[in-house]
Symmetry: C2
Subunit: 187 residues, 2 copies
DNA sequence: CTAATCCTTTAACATAAGATAAATAATTAC
DNA sequence: GTAATTATTTATCTTATGTTAAAGGATTAG
């Protein structure tokens, strides 16, 4: 469990005490491909960091499986629409490759915010950047064609095709799998 | 300048000292319809609160004016993709009705975070909720038809038609003005 | 290793939305 | 109040993506 603190360092440096306090509320999960890390219907009280592997957040809309987002090695994944509101999540987190995940107990983390402003600041900054990424993604969705979005995704995340089935990429891009197949066939 | 603190109260209560510190870094702007509150190209260092009026964030994509978001009375508006990264913003803020705006100096605000953890917490929570709204908006864009998105917008913000030209609503919805006209004609 | 299941592609047809142009309608400037 | 400008609608044609169905590949379970 070293690299999570390297990741944190990118946002805000922490005192040794703060690092120890965080370590105490983390656990490591080894989990296999296609398993559900978290399922539907409960209020999300965990933030995950991916040491190794790949995951996605997804939900069902009219019975169809829709991928909201992917997360890859050395990144955070959380169902923020539940974590930050306390509402039960309609979304689940599925593992897409055999993974090693750090689970951060968010209930306890939020308590640490009172004792360690540096920890509150760290997560404030992490989620500010995630927020900016989401704002930028809207721009991509609204004014690029499906083909442009696909190409952009591949160049941002060149290994995604090895890690993630195309059907999940299609729903993430907001198109059907048939459309994605057509787009790929053009090349 | 009363209602901004009522708004803050929804997120986190502040001590009198913290309120005073914030008041010191705020100024009130009276600004007329169609004026630009902030223009393109500079790093965004201001967070705005709308006491009265309406505003939008917009940018040009291939020469076409695109509305990224609207903000109405008693809400915050900021170009977060610049504010949180320090990058110059490609976006501008335009006033859509004669407005009264509170401008919060973000550079000084971020300094207050060191002295007043309660202020850092306040803005953390404000932007967490804004982040959640943005995540939910992606869901709307990706899996609803333009007609559904239009109807949803009207029911969320019934007065928008009195405040905002349809062309801005069209680009916000991710469609052309001609398509929006067609959708409205069906009824 | 084989069968069963799941994933991806291809084809044919349907439809929503884009592009362009022109006609009205509404607003703004003088 | 009128002209000029800007916003909105309507019409026509085009195109990207959706829908459904079926076939071919790949992966998984036993």
């Amino acid at each position: 469990m070293k690299s999570i603190f390297q990741y944190f360092q990118l946002y805000n440096s922490l005192s040794k005490e703060a690092e120890n306090a965080i370590t105490e509320i983390c656990s490591i999960i080894e989990i296999k491909k296609n398993q559900e890390l978290q399922t539907f219907g409960h209020t999300c009280k965990t933030i995950y960091y991916i040491n190794k592997g790949t995951a996605r957040i997804y939900y069902y809309k009219d019975g169809i499986d829709i991928t909201e987002s992917f997360a890859f090695e050395n990144n955070i994944i959380a169902r923020v629409e539940s974590l930050f509101t306390g509402n039960p999540s309609r979304k689940a987190i599925q593992i897409l490759e055999d993974s090693e995940i750090v689970a951060i107990n968010a209930t306890q983390l939020f308590k640490l915010y009172d004792t360690y402003p540096e920890i509150e600041r760290l997560f404030r900054k992490i989620f500010e950047v995630a927020y900016v990424d989401t704002v930028n993604r809207i721009e991509g969705i609204q004014f690029h064609s499906a083909e442009e979005r696909y190409n952009a995704l591949i160049s941002e995340e060149p290994n995604i095709l090895k890690k993630v089935p195309l059907k999940h990429i299609a729903s993430y891009l907001g198109i059907t799998q048939v459309s994605l197949s057509r787009i790929r066939a053009i090349k």
